[in-house]
Symmetry: C2
Subunit: 453 residues, 2 copies
């Protein structure tokens, strides 16, 4: 028998419940605040934006939250996802480390995002909602919500960051193919959009602006709510199917990760893989190294401030305690991947602030180099987002080689790059560059924090 590379588990082993890390945190998550009063907000304050059942999940401290059967039924189309041993990558690196990856690119939209879009569509439908609004940057989330909307018969309206839609028209096409509407943001369809266009008619848009438009459209719409693809607690919750499956698969492989790695934009794919393992540790289990990898061009965890901030540019959201670069931070336009959000999931920020995870930042050229090596060894072309996790995994494997240590590394391969070939072509043509934010840029961005300056 040859060396095994793929660890599958049967669909009977699809988790019955999501794992809620709020049950095991050594200190509770700081509350969400009402910006007008500075007081913690209650579930009622969120009812115009989210349905009750999702608000309950958002504030729950139950350890296990059941996955409804209709959601499991859809999950089964592509889940459990495979866990791979990256033997060819290991050979190319000549490392004694054992590298594993959980591969989420086999979903209908090519990333981990449907894990939560399907759940959110189900719960909104159950709550009698007819329409969902959302924003999308690189388009992974927008296409995933469009897919889920098609399955649960919900109208979907996606505000897509204008520059991203221009760079990735095909993600817009995919959203349309699933039957959803896509509007370039900033747009004339909302007050937030009109205000920004009045100031700057050529504005390229940002995730923060698109969130403002989507929230406004949800609040003003009939039987309409807003859906977010990352950042919030219930999104992290839904993504834990990744890590719950991976734990069983690592057992099947007869191995146990010393190092866990995920890339972080809003934090959901990182949390999805890592929280079930971290929960074990918090309940007295083994301590592992946990690495959160972000782009050097949008260094939220490594150079941002852990503070209360808005989730959007027009300040329509409550205040979240999170690592942030300020809600008006604009990542440089030439950075090709997603991972461009100014903030970070409060749960991920909390874990980092408690010293439970190490944040690192990687520059984009080194990430594309890692992506190309992965394509040529493992045969899968990674999304630019995923290349950040891969870069960190490779760097750890090379350290293992230098130190002569045979550590076990597990990373989340959160999506394929089939919609990102322009970025690879730009990389091959030498048209990409690295960007490390200057001290001045960071200071200016942080000056925009509420209460700052």
């Amino acid at each position: 028998m040859p060396d095994r590379v793929k660890y599958l588990i049967d669909e009977q082993e699809l988790p019955d419940s999501w794992y809620n890390i709020a049950a095991d945190l050594p200190e509770p998550l700081p509350p969400v605040l009402n910006p007008a009063t500075g007081e913690p907000i209650g579930p009622d304050d969120l009812a115009a934006i989210f349905p009750r059942n999702l608000i309950e999940q958002e504030v729950s401290t139950e350890r296990e939250i059941e996955i409804p059967e209709p959601v499991r039924e859809v999950y089964r189309q592509w889940r459990p996802t495979p866990l791979y041993r990256a033997r060819r990558l290991e050979r190319a690196l000549d490392t004694p480390a054992r590298i594993y990856y959980k591969y989420e690119g086999g979903s209908p939209t090519g990333s981990h995002k449907p894990n939560t879009s399907v759940a959110q569509a189900f719960f909104n439908k159950q709550a009698g909602i007819h329409k969902l609004t959302t924003e999308t940057g690189a388009g992974q989330w927008g296409s995933s919500l469009a897919y889920a909307g098609a399955l649960f018969d919900l109208e979907i309206l996606v505000y897509m960051v204008k520059v991203s839609l221009r760079q990735k028209p095909y993600r817009g096409g995919l959203i349309q193919t699933f039957g959803a509407n896509v509007i370039p943001s900033p747009s004339q369809t909302t007050e937030s959009g009109r205000a920004i266009l009045a100031e700057d008619p050529d504005c390229n848009g940002s995730l923060g602006i698109a969130i403002s438009e989507a929230v406004e459209a949800a609040v003003k719409g009939d039987k309409t709510r807003y859906a977010l693809g990352s950042v919030l607690n219930h999104v992290m919750l839904h993504q834990t199917v990744i890590g719950l499956e991976a734990m069983k698969q690592m057992e099947l492989a007869g191995d146990d990760p010393d190092i866990l790695i995920g890339c972080t934009g809003g934090g959901s794919n990182f949390a999805g893989l890592i929280f079930p393992f971290l929960g074990q540790q918090l309940r007295g289990g083994r301590t592992r190294r946990i690495i959160a990898v972000e782009p050097a061009a949008c260094p939220t965890l490594t150079r941002g401030r852990y503070a209360y901030d808005y989730g959007d540019t027009s300040h329509l959201t409550p205040l979240l305690k999170m690592h942030t670069l300020g809600s008006r931070f604009m990542p440089p336009g030439f950075h090709t991947g997603g991972l461009r959000y100014h903030g970070m999931a409060p749960l991920v920020s909390h874990a980092v602030s408690l010293g439970l995870a190490e944040p690192v930042a990687k520059a984009q050229l080194a990430c594309f180099e890692a992506g190309v090596l992965t394509a040529r060894t493992e045969g899968i072309t990674p999304a630019p987002e995923a290349t950040h996790a891969i870069r960190a995994a490779i760097d750890e494997a090379l350290r293992c080689k230098q130190e002569g240590r045979s550590e076990t590394i597990l990373f989340n391969f959160c999506g394929h790059g089939h919609f990102d070939m322009q970025a690879y072509m730009d990389y091959f043509a030498g048209n990409l560059k690295d960007h490390a934010c200057s001290e001045e840029e960071i200071a200016m961005a942080l000056a925009g924090l509420p209460g700052a300056g």
Copy 2:
């Protein structure tokens, strides 16, 4: 328990051998002819183009040909592929038919092509070859051979039809990401290409021209051979893993197909699903309806002639007995999918000529309509090629509804459409049209057949 939608088999059930239909044909396949002498050619005549081990497979009449372990090891990355029951599509059609599909889009390049590219790369490497040349139209095959070349350390040179590379630059980017070279065809790098450019400097290219260039480059190169992604017997052979797995999975589903459907360009995905079932029938098993679906704009099986013809435009290949529109047939440029080859796999042509399969032609707008319905029900956006098989499956399911019959339909879902979103966007924008070749176009094309006119 809910209705089951996915039928997986364990990787231990990956077939040990490919199935060779030549062993069971009621009449042997007409021989390949040397165009100079009109005599059957022998293995020696092919040695400049293909390695010996693949030539042996090309002419073998052994029923089972072992899959080497290194090929099985690579297959296991994404195989066995899932077989799905299309319950949501059935509900949308309100049909009593049961629709199943074998899904090949989960491979590293998103189609069935790696089933043979991996095998061909392995056998060429084993034969001491250093470099492979090939052609590609829509790019599915070129990217698949590039992927296989990366795994087996072979240099890969891909001639890509110029108009396709312009329409689908990202398939070119994917080829490059796997480390292969891609040249727009016709090019100045070959005599064939130069001759065509001298006549028409703006020539858009065609598969036939690109084959000429790739064959020429192989024959003139050192330790270089040519690889073809369809048409030839050994390619059909490698694709039979699809049908061999599907047979086990239909058993697992406790069902048995009454109708088998595949789309046909060169014939390989059709043959891959269908030949193992057809072989059963030829050995005395059950007779099923077998439907080969081609585009109305390139109606090789339905309106071509079953005759000896060249495989390429410059007439560098031997003569193959096949359904053909003539080696200089140019399918209309606005037809967006692959499936544009003038000829057809001799084995598929032979089966059709013996009455073992029904050919049908489908127009492109109806195919895109079927593709959109599939995306919105099954959640997978099909490649334009695959929409032809889906259209036929839907039409059969609607017939079942009309007749009140509960038949079982199985089709090959040969690839996803993530690289084809421009075609979907053109469809939504109303920029696509149907094209049925006129009698004059067909007559003119057929006049180019050897010995004709």
